[in-house]
């Protein structure tokens, strides 16, 4: 399956494209999409944050960003595949990985949006975060739909599945924070008792 056909299909008829991905699992196309999205994000970051010390304009930092996004995609696909399997879904992790790659394509819009933002009068401190939130939400919703298409899950289940690792991390963090607060309160009480 040609990568361009796949991307075109995903843009025009995402459900049919997802079906084709389930059948053929074009992993190379998925990898390409991750790299395209990572490149766009890298270039956008040069304009969104002045003095972007996190992402200096060097080939090494570009490569590291793409690698990080690939690794994150791989890890997410693997983890969600296990969870989906536990939820009774039937699908393959490799096709989920490809669909996640295709879901990263909205990040390609981050670069032209960043350039336009810098030229516009709405350029401010919050503007970059707003832009990234909008693009990130589009990408996330495509990921949720991908989960649903790949495993035959309903929209609600797909969203729950997608957010579950983040919810688990947030719950863990909240637990730790509560424990810390409780022990601090206890220590203060002991001081006065």
């Amino acid at each position: 399956m040609r990568a361009l056909d796949l991307i075109a299909g995903f843009i025009e008829e995402p459900e049919r494209a997802a079906e084709a991905v389930r059948r053929e699992r074009p992993v190379a196309a998925g990898l390409l999409c991750f790299v395209l999205a990572g490149t766009s994000l890298f270039l956008a970051a040069q304009f969104l944050w002045r003095g972007s010390f996190l992402l200096p304009p060097s080939p090494l930092s570009w490569a590291l960003l793409c690698l990080w996004r690939l690794a994150a995609g791989f890890l997410m696909a693997g983890t969600l595949h296990l969870l989906a399997d536990a939820f009774g879904g039937e699908g393959r992790a490799s096709s989920l990985f490809v669909l996640f790659g295709l879901s990263e394509l909205p990040w390609s819009l981050a670069l032209p949006a960043a350039l336009l933002l810098r030229l516009s009068p709405w350029d401010g401190r919050l503007a970059p975060w707003l832009l990234l939130s909008v693009v990130g939400t589009i990408s996330l919703s495509l990921k949720a739909r991908s989960l649903g298409w790949n495993y035959g899950l309903s929209s609600g289940k797909a969203w729950l599945l997608l957010l579950s690792p983040y919810l688990a991390a947030a719950a863990f963090f909240a637990c730790c924070l509560s424990l810390a607060a409780a022990s601090l309160a206890f220590a203060v009480l002991r001081l006065f008792s």
Partner: protein, 343 residues
């Protein structure tokens, strides 16, 4: 009679399904490619300057179209005593490594000027003169200006190097000067006597063990060594006189080994201006003909820097006795030195 075979009309081949127009796809692809090309161009024109440069260029068509790409200012830090490194390992600190870094920076076309950040009490005559030669070559052959920035201390050999540069910038409180030569020697005869030890060399000539720490120096030996010191001192004085454009007879009263602050040195013509690292970079950029804000290219490959970090972090902790031995060796080092022993 046979019935004619019915002729069935040939079926036309099935028409290929019509290709759906992919206007949206091509539009998005074109947008992506065009913005990537524009972004890469702006980052390139920014000359690797701080990341705000591409943003500034985006908003200023005049700057964007201005000819001439910003050059870079190379930066080499010469910190600590100046000696041969001994091992030649790329991540170690020593004359060889500093020479290599100055040369490699000067050979890069985008480097238009170099700042030498000197914070050194000096070192061995050979090592200092080798570095001095490298600086002179960069100025003469590569035609690149070199600006010395004096840190806490740029005494003796450290100042020897600074005097070879086009300009010298010092902090008002920098300690510099100590123009002179020293030959460190020690007489441990008394200690040996306490330990019941005695040195008994067999020599081919009577002056073979000149400077030996195991006995007192003879008058003849002292005069001989003094002549060596005077000759090396003459070389030092001549180098500073040529470098700073101060006649030797005017320089000599200042070159009795005394040290000066940066502010005192300014009045005596030993430095060109008082300032900090930003001033040195700005001066280097002006001398190098760099327009706009220059990027500072520090010396060393990323790999060298990583190896240096590993060596100092791991090697030092694993071999504390080696570090101690190194320090002691520095104190007992033989030979002529352009070094201020106040540190």
């Amino acid at each position: 009679m046979d019935e004619p075979t019915p002729q069935f009309p040939r079926q036309a081949p099935a028409a290929a399904p019509p290709r759906r127009p992919r206007g949206l796809l091509w539009a998005l692809t074109g947008l992506y490619l065009a913005s990537s090309a524009a972004a890469l161009f702006l980052i390139w024109r920014g000359g690797g300057a701080p990341a705000q440069a591409p943003v500034d260029l985006l908003r200023s068509p005049r700057k964007l179209l201005a000819s001439g790409r910003s050059g870079n200012v190379g930066w080499v830090s010469i910190h600590g005593p100046i000696y041969h490194s001994g091992s030649g390992k790329v991540w170690e600190r020593g004359m060889e490594q500093w020479s290599r870094r100055i040369r490699s920076l000067s050979e890069r076309s985008e480097i238009k000027a170099i700042v030498l950040d000197i914070d050194s009490p000096g070192g061995s005559v050979g090592a200092v003169q080798e570095l001095h030669g490298v600086i002179q070559r960069v100025r003469a052959e590569q035609k690149k200006p070199v600006v010395a920035l004096l840190g806490d201390v740029a005494a003796s050999g450290g100042y020897y190097l600074a005097s070879a540069c086009d300009k010298v910038v010092a902090h008002p409180g920098s300690l510099l000067g100590s123009i002179g030569v020293i030959f460190n020697t020690m007489n441990v005869e008394g200690l040996f006597a306490k330990l019941g030890l005695r040195s008994d060399p067999i020599k081919s000539g009577r002056l073979k063990d000149i400077g030996s720490p195991t006995r007192a120096m003879t008058r003849e030996e002292r005069e001989l060594l003094q002549a060596l010191i005077d000759d090396a001192y003459g070389q030092f004085l001549g180098a500073v006189s040529r470098g700073r454009g101060i006649p030797e007879d005017k320089l000599r009263p200042l070159a009795d080994g005394r040290i000066f602050t940066g502010r005192q040195a300014l009045g005596l013509g030993l430095v060109d201006s008082l300032g900090d690292s930003q001033d040195a970079v700005k001066m280097a950029a002006e001398l190098g003909g760099i327009s706009g804000k220059p990027k500072v290219a520090r010396e060393g490959d990323s790999l060298e820097i990583v190896l240096e970090m590993l060596d100092s972090a791991v090697g030092g902790s694993l071999r504390p006795e080696a570090a101690l031995a190194g320090r002691l060796q520095g104190l007992l080092r033989a030979g002529l030195e352009y070094r201020w022993t106040g540190l």
